[in-house]
Subunit: 130 residues, 2 copies
């Protein structure tokens, strides 16, 4: 019943490439890259291995990862708390010093239009469940 995991040259290479690149590639990018060593590699294998690597805590999927987009009306800038178990998203009203945000912008030196702080964790409802 316990999950067994064997080694696989493809998976090793996927992780290696992901560690070397400074970018945040998509599955397709990884597929094209790793295919140089494994010409018969299939996209399905890339997805399957990415899932395994995530379960092992070696890889993170950016974004909400729920498969579909979420929208909100632009009102006041605010932040989000994302539950890693049920995927729910809650608004956060964080009282951050203005100075901190100013510092953020200065540090980056980039033209920043907006920012968002995203906290990930287990929401209260899911907390009671486990």
């Amino acid at each position: 019943m316990a999950e067994r995991t064997r080694t696989s040259k493809q998976r090793d290479r996927i992780l290696e490439v992901l560690r070397q690149t400074g970018s945040h590639p998509t599955a397709k990018w990884l597929y094209d890259r790793v295919r140089r060593q494994f010409p018969n590699l299939s996209l399905g294998t890339v997805y399957r291995n990415l899932a395994i690597l995530q379960r092992q805590g070696l890889v993170v999927k950016l974004g909400f990862g729920s498969g579909f987009e979420r929208y909100e009306a632009k009102i006041l800038p605010h932040h989000h708390f994302v539950c890693e178990r049920c995927g729910s998203v809650a608004d956060l009203k964080l009282a951050l010093d203005r100075s901190v945000m100013q510092k953020l912008r200065q540090t980056t030196g980039l033209r920043t239009t907006r920012y968002e702080i995203r906290l990930f964790g287990i929401c209260k409802r899911c907390s009671g469940t486990e």
Copy 2:
């Protein structure tokens, strides 16, 4: 050639619902909700109007909004800068005081496993282009 936009009861209602709800709904959720007033509403219309509202700056799409997932190997915690024009994602090394992050966690009172600060703006490469 200039883009004309007419009013539409459906679009008004979509925005209204989005403004009233505290959640971060998916297109499907909005569709089900707005259909109460417009039984013949189609999902395509919802997507089309969400796109228009985004162009008008009234609505924001959460996530990277590029349509596909992005992955990264889990190394040290860090943050991201997302270019709103070309969609590129860059790592940010922000020197944030530990105290600030502690404050963040305390404020929320939630069990937080990780956090990520995401800045949105126009990257240097795109900046030179316009």
